[in-house]
Every structure is written in structure tokens, then in C-alpha cells.
Amino acid sequence: MIGKFLETLYTKVFINIIVENSQTVVYVEECSRNEVLQSTHKVFETTSINSKMQDFIRAFFKQTPFYYVSILDKSSNQGAIPTCTVSEMGKYCDINSSEYICFSEHWAYYTSEYDLEAIKHEYRSIGLDFIFSPFALMATFFKDKIGSTLAMFVLVEDSYISFSIFDKSRLLYGEYLDMQHHKDDEEMLIDSSLEYEDDTSLGIDGIDLEDMSIEDDVVSFDDFADIEDLDSDNSMDEFSEIQEIHENIEHEVDISTEGFNEDYQRFSLIQSALKTFYKDPKYESQFIETIYIADGARVSSDLKSYLEEEMFLNVYVRKIDLGVVLCEMAKAEVNEI
């Protein structure tokens, strides 16, 4: 009782860590009772905790004893299952090595115990209070829609997609999709085809090193006979400018193609997940016409157009600030205590 009273006198600090592709966003909210006093976003160019991030977070620990550190689970061995009965869970995942939480009577989300321990170990220098599943985050974010519609609900992060299908609060299908692995798989397919081509070419023609003459190479060095010309400033500047222009063009092309690729990759992942849902007899298949996307990775309109044009879905996109929603969940947890 006295503890609760004293707790109200102190400000609470909610530190929320979101690990992205190449950076980590730390969103901090300072609250007094139900009022938000201050909120801060800080981006660190690391995907694991470094000393700068540690110092930044530790600075808040000194302000109040009531600080809560939350993180979004990134384990690739996580998912959501349409049951909350332990005996049935075995059908969908390896329950022995997983930690699960029933969101309601009808569905649960789970993650690998090993990965949980790995996260705790990684952040042991600051300690963690909450590890949230993206499925729980998504269900909280779309709680106004999940209860009333039959639709796909997708949370898009930088490298991951939390894919779920709900029919009026009842989960039909849930899968955590890893874009990195998917990409690797695709690349491996491409690489293997290339290797095959190379092998065949080598097999047919072959290269006989003994046939190569050294003289040919020596002749080619004659072009550099007057090597002092290369040292002149003008020629070097011109060369560097040209190089820069080329680099810029290449960079722009990379960005646009990367964005395009990522959206297409997301689309293909969603498509394949939906196919699995339709085909896998484990799941109660229903025809889905609508998709709600929680956009936490600033996706372009391409994804929406793909889904609309290729799959004929009604697409609704909502921007989500993962840090803010994570913070809301942490607050709800703290109020539950």
C-alpha cells in the first residue's frame, strides 16, 4: 500500500528498444501518473547494444527507480497458433522448446526459449523488463478491427512481417516471416543456377593455362610507358569526378531497386503465406478479401498496388510507430502489476 503510494510520487520511464535492419531505435517516454512529461527518440547505428546506447539508457535509470525496458521479440522461431490448449499446440509448433502466452481463449503466440535467453543475455548490461511478441503488438494495434472482421492483419517491420488471419477475434493463421532468410533462399537458388552454367561452360571449353602467353600481357603495359602523365592534377580530378558521378548513379539505382525489391519481397511473402493458409489442412481455410497493414517500415505504395492488382485484395494501410505502441503495451503491463 505504502509502496504503491510512493510509486505514484515518482515518474516512470519507459524505454522501448526496436531493432531495425542496420540501426536500433530507442524510444523513451517519461510519465507521471497518466501524463506524458517527455518523449525522446534516438537512433543508434548498431543492431546490438553498444556503449553509447548503454550510456543513453543508463542516464534514465538514474532519474527514477521505476524504469521499464521493453523490446520487441525478433526471434525467427516465433509465431501465433489458433489454439490455447496445450495438447493441440504440438500440432503447430515445438511446444517443449517454446515459451507461449495465450492472448485469449482462442489463440496464443509463442517464441523460442533459447532466443528469449539470447535476447536477455545480449541486453544483460541494462536488463530487460518486457519482451513483447509482434503478434501481441499487432493484435493491440488492430483491436478495433480484429473483433469485427475476417481479414489478414500484417505488421510490416524492416526485415520481418508478422502475418495473421483473424475471423472476429479468432485466429485462423499466424506466421512470422523473415525477409532475410527468404532473400538468402532466393539468392541461393540464383547462385546455384549460375554455378551450374559456369560448370557447363568450363566443362565444354575449359581453360588451358599453358596456352596463355606472357608476352601479350607485357605488351599491354606499354600504354603506361609515360607514367608521369598520370600524376598530373587535371587528369586525376577529372577521373575522381567521373568516379563520383558513377557512384551516385549506382547508389540511386541501388536504393530504388532495393525499395522495389523489398516491397515485392514482402508481397511475395504475404502471397506465399496466404497460399500456405489455403492449402494446409491444419488450418480452417476461409476466403480472405481484406488485408490490414500496420506499416512500421515506411513501405511504398507499390506493396499496396501489388496486393490490389495481383491478389485483388482490399488493402488498408495504417502507419504504426512501433516505439509508441510498444510503450503503450509496457504501460498496460505496469498498470496490471
Partner: protein, 174 residues
């Protein structure tokens, strides 16, 4: 509803800083109270010692008065002893003088010394020896002298000499 996979760490307002602060204040307060208790104890002991000393003082003053009384008694006794000693020495001198008075030819058999008188019993060869050699000095000392004789078996005379000093005359002489 619980969303998180892990439970939050227990939060308490008693952080390390606060604990250190409380420890510091606790030690300070403990030292203050222990000093206060020590002073109280010393004060109590001091009061007790003071009472003891007062009691001792009273006891000593009672003893002093007792001893003073004893001293007074002793002084009185000493005075008395002195008096008696003086009297005895006077008496001794008187007896010496008395025996010096008695001539060798007269033998005393008994002498009674009284407050204001002297009775002598003895044997004398004859009355003249007694009258000239003993009675004459006795008369010079005592105011009244009475002598009586009766014959002894060997032909000598037994005598009883009764001598008195009159107090009135003695005071008028002084």
C-alpha cells in the same frame, strides 16, 4: 492481461543511492542516540554517585560527631586520669613525706589516710620519743592531733595518732 514473455524486475524506491543515504543517516542517528544514551547513563551514574557520596558524607558527619563525642569523653577521661595521676603523685609524695616524718625508732603498723585526716598505728619505745620526734611534725601539718597510748607486751607503747585538717581553716588560710 499479460503480454510480455518475461516478468518485469521488481522495482523498489530503495535504490543503491537511497540505501546508501539511509545507511548513512541510520548510522548517524544510531551514533547520536548511542551518544545520548551514553550521556543519560553517565548522568544517571553521576547522580547515583552523588547520592552515594551524600550518604557517605552524612555517614561520615555522623561518625565525626560520634568520634567528637568519644574525643570529648576521652579528653574528660584524660583530664580525670591526669587528676588522679596528680592526686596519686601527691599522695605518693605525701606518703613518702609521711614515712620520712616517721623516725627510725618508731615503727608504724598501720596508716589510714583519709580525705581530711590521717590515722597512724604503731609502736614507740616511750612517749617522749613519740611526742618529740613524730607528734611535733604532725602538729605542724594537721590542725588537730589526738594521740592515745596503751602498753605493748615487750614494755613499749602502742599508739594511735588521729590527725585532722580543718577545711574551714584551710580555706581561710588560702
Amino acid at each position: 492481461m499479460r503480454y510480455s514473455y518475461i516478468k518485469p524486475r521488481a522495482k523498489t524506491i530503495f535504490t543503491k543511492d537511497i540505501q546508501l543515504l539511509f545507511t548513512f543517516f541510520g548510522v548517524t542517528i544510531f551514533m547520536l542516540f548511542s551518544t545520548y544514551a551514553f550521556l543519560l547513563f553517565r548522568d544517571y551514574r553521576f547522580t547515583q554517585e552523588m547520592q552515594d557520596i551524600k550518604e557517605q558524607k552524612n555517614q561520615l558527619s555522623i561518625n565525626i560527631s560520634k568520634i567528637n563525642k568519644q574525643i570529648a569523653v576521652a579528653q574528660k577521661q584524660s583530664l580525670l586520669a591526669e587528676k588522679i595521676f596528680t592526686k596519686n603523685s601527691v599522695l605518693k609524695d605525701s606518703i613518702n613525706n609521711l614515712f620520712d616524718l616517721v623516725p627510725s625508732r618508731i615503727t608504724l603498723s598501720e596508716a589510714k589516710i583519709m580525705q581530711n585526716g590521717l590515722i597512724l598505728y604503731g609502736i614507740t619505745p616511750n612517749k617522749d620519743v613519740y611526742n618529740f620526734m613524730l607528734q611535733a611534725p604532725l602538729r605542724s601539718i594537721f590542725h588537730r592531733t589526738y594521740s592515745s597510748f596503751y602498753p605493748a607486751d615487750n614494755g613499749w607503747l602502742r599508739f594511735v595518732s588521729t590527725n585532722y585538717i580543718d577545711e574551714e581553716e584551710l580555706s581561710s588560710e588560702n
